[in-house]
Symmetry: D2
Subunit: 335 residues, 4 copies
């Protein structure tokens, strides 16, 4: 099959590689659409994320959808032909985290496009059958791929304990910030303020995603007052994080989902005096069924997020583009 392979830092090649062999519990998916994520861009540009280092050639891409074309020995044959959204993880299912319902924290996880596990910028990819989630015919291939970032948003809103009446501040109006904003409203939030320095993104956000949008540079006080029940950082920017923590009411929540610096200066005295609870989101557990339901019912307009499309032979351009273009929201690769 054809695959777009990261052969070394900042070097992508379209190569002919072997189709993945199926384990007994796996299915083979012919990929129809793959979203480009910041972590793909990061691996491409830097060759590593934290201590995950790309040492050998690697297929990137983990926001993927397609159609099941083959099935392992233990999988019912009826599944062949199903259109599916891929939950791109293979937890061990036996460690204590898997058994406690925190399989995202599995100590032996194999995750798409996290070295040395290949991802989905390719014609085909394999996944355990129960992580290939059927989607309805009415859902587009691109929306099916974007169930992955929608899942991140759901995991974030759960951790942020958003419920009816919540007031939420979201830093960053990229795809994750927009999805968190929209999902927060579905969880019952009555006010969702997104903060982003880009006017283009603030306007985008006001088109059905957030209830208000502020510029953190020119209106910093609008960002931090009045205090909110939850602050979600989807920017990864240290100043946004610090500013956001100051906006949280006593007993409120901070959830970090954006990726950025290893260490950030945090106002611990404020965190103590207000008993603020701060945590982060790492991938997701048990989000696909809800994400598919929300997208299928039209509650989340995933298709609206797609601003650019690329072919499998053009992944390098997609990765460069996603990192640079301020007016790109979501780029999708169509193999």
């Amino acid at each position: 099959m054809k695959a777009s392979v990261l052969v070394s830092m900042q070097k992508i090649e379209l190569r002919e590689v072997e189709i993945p062999r199926l384990a007994a519990d796996e299915v083979l998916v012919r990929i129809s659409a793959v979203g480009v994520c910041g972590s793909d861009t990061h691996f491409y540009a830097e060759g590593h994320i934290g201590d995950m280092v790309v040492r050998e050639s690697l297929i990137l891409g983990h926001e993927a959808a397609g159609c099941i074309v083959d099935a392992g020995r233990e999988v019912p044959r009826e599944r062949i032909g199903q259109r599916v959204s891929i939950e791109p993880q293979r937890p061990c299912r036996t460690c204590v985290y898997c058994k406690r319902g925190q399989y995202n924290l599995c100590i032996d996880m194999r995750f798409y496009a996290a070295p040395p596990v290949d991802g989905a910028f390719a014609e085909y990819a394999s996944i355990p059958a129960d992580f290939a989630h059927p989607v309805p015919d009415t859902m587009s291939d691109e929306a099916s791929a974007l169930i992955e970032p929608l899942s991140v948003a759901i995991a974030t809103c759960r951790k942020a304990r958003i419920t009816a009446g919540s007031r939420v501040l979201v830093a960053g109006a990229g795809p994750i910030g927009l999805l968190v904003s929209r999902v927060a409203r579905i969880f019952g939030a009555t006010e969702v303020i997104v903060s982003d320095p880009s006017e283009y993104r603030r306007r985008f956000a006001l088109n059905g995603w957030a209830t208000a949008a502020n510029d953190p540079i020119t209106e910093p006080s609008a960002v931090t007052s009045p205090l909110v029940d939850a602050f979600v950082d989807a920017s990864g920017a240290p100043t946004a994080i610090n500013q956001g923590v100051h906006a949280v009411r006593p007993g409120g929540k901070v959830v970090l989902v954006g990726m950025g610096a290893e260490e950030v200066e945090l106002p611990v005295s404020l965190i103590q005096n207000r008993e603020i609870e701060l945590t982060g989101v790492f991938r997701y557990t048990d989000t696909w069924p809800l994400a598919i339901e929300l997208a299928a019912s039209g509650s989340v307009a995933l298709d609206q997020l797609v601003t650019h499309r690329f072919g499998l032979d053009d992944v390098e351009a997609a990765l460069k583009h996603a990192g640079r273009n301020p007016e790109a929201v979501k780029s999708v690769v169509i193999p």
Copy 2:
């Protein structure tokens, strides 16, 4: 009455002041013992804690016990004569935090020895009747006063979600660190490792408070491995906090109770990848009855903590001493 008054930064005077007037729901307590706390030392030495600034003369001291000698109009007369431990706060009882059971976060709190509210380094102090908790005759005056730091420890263990089988790391073997260690075991923790650079304090900790003690300077790896369910910082030291966060397992808890710098560099990437939950403890809500029960039954040996005693005319010496003496665990003022 006589009171020990902080008249300006680093200046304490024994003065004759008026006995507090009682509101209808208050009682007057003749003070029998008052613990000296780090925050008292801090106000004395620096004149402020964060944005709480001592602007007029102030009576310090908030770990207090005594005997009820008078009662306001709405309080049953039978309460006169009771020996009590004082919960040194007057929440407004009407704001949203009070109504939600988080009265420690009350937006209109009046707390002992937090400017401009006087504390208990005096012959008498007033408190709402329901915050004057009866103690059994078998409990010493000093133990009755130390119900306050024990309450901090209980609030901490609740936030740290300690339960049967928990493994806990505690940084700092001062009074709060020791009490957190002991209370953690009562909550069911099977391993409680305290970390402190003072050998004296480590030895003290091993005498019934913690199950293990490490020196963070000479054995840093013993502090951070293996990973624990909860890390409690009772030191306020930025390096201890950072080191402690690294010791927490995926999905584990960090609770900050020690006071120190306003801002601390924290490993946010680690917090995200492990979905660690970090929060702080600010005073306490609904802890006195349990604290009294634990002390009365002998589960927590409060009297053991008292290493030094001072008279009301010697509060300045007590405050200086507490800040300097490495072998002082808890100093108590006996009016």
Copy 3:
């Protein structure tokens, strides 16, 4: 002032009584609208609810709104003139339940229209200032009164842990069942099935309250399959409760809010094998601000519920009517 007084079982008289005297923290409200509740009907018809017995004359009515016309000594004068919705309870604020944020469970509660505390079928009523919640000018008097049953619905959805994607079964399409259905959707429920034998009520429910409606008599299997995340009983009928529990998935919730028999035969073996969690709702804590926000924004169409209106001299007719008329949803008394 004029008041509608229950003088003995099934006997209501319009009497001239004294205007309530204000405690220092109370306000006096000129009543503009009062909803008629099943508990009012019950006290009128039976003279008691469980062990709460009407022994002396009593003013019924606890779903009330009006305008502040006087204020006690400690209340800011600016509050006079405010239109308010009354949270009809006076907790003691000092017991352990009040301090834990469960003031609905206060051991010394004084609640409107629960003997011997008078309610609001009168020209005026008094209430502590912080339980008189301001409403916007755009909200009708009737909607302001119905914030009370909306609060019951909010308390119910919180206990039922309803969140994005929840599937909910509600037995009974009276005012509480309708409000629970609507609020469940605001909490993110994607499917809310109401079950009621009355065709009129099922049709009412489908007009913006629930997503589906079933007849438990003719379509029992539609009520119990497929399994739901939460079952709310708002009917009080033993067969509905038993049937509803069978409809709950493993690990799901049952919340009883309807009033009926003292004892009900429950499938404990099923509750065990599925680890179903069953509880009840008793009034509410901290619901008014959210209820007012949801009604003011139009998310809950409270005015739609009002099907009948009565004068203060016609309360007996209102009570009789509410108990009998299958096409009455909500009756309101306008003093």
Copy 4:
């Protein structure tokens, strides 16, 4: 191998059967001890528990320990020779309950001695490797087997939300009631009252298991007053359940773990007015490591529970004996 087989209702035969074949992820355990449980007795005497019916011959016994003597293809060979306690369940690991950390509620569970899955009254039994939990050499075979009922007790105390200071009522001083009592104290309960009509069992309970023991027949008021934070029914007796619910404070918990009638009359009005939360325990999730730690450290004296022992050729006597002898606490089969 030899196995004790239930061939029809009330008929057990010692037969020669095939040693279980190992799946790739399983181990073969030579059984050293198996506890006799009420459910074994029930299957023997009645031929079914609820809708689980014994249709073909079945090996009973699910409280088992032994030594690993063989291992499937995917299991490290080093495991052969380990002494283990068996967690007698094989969840599917792919359904939504497994993924949420509630694998006890797995929709495709295969559980020892639940028809048609064979149990451990045999010389050998197979189990997935991660459900064969290593035990220390200091732990006896019998204690290793009784990790199973200890796990039930841990699951119960978790559901009952027992923590420091809890007051708990336990109905029934059989093995489960005793273990729940002891574990409650380890979770921090300061008072654990066991209620049992048998004087022998009450005396047994006071020997290190509960803090108090009452006779529900002669001292019913001692059972229901003062109110407790949690009531655990380990008796299955409808009157004990009803009486116990009346003993629970507002906001408290009821956990049903005893097996008995399908349906029980419950005081729903009381459950509502006190907002009591009632649920049941069905097996366990993630309890073995803690149970082994508590038993190994001596916190729970499992060996004390064993009052009678039987050979593999004497299982029928063991089953009859367990059901009848009031002075039997725990019988163990030694193959």
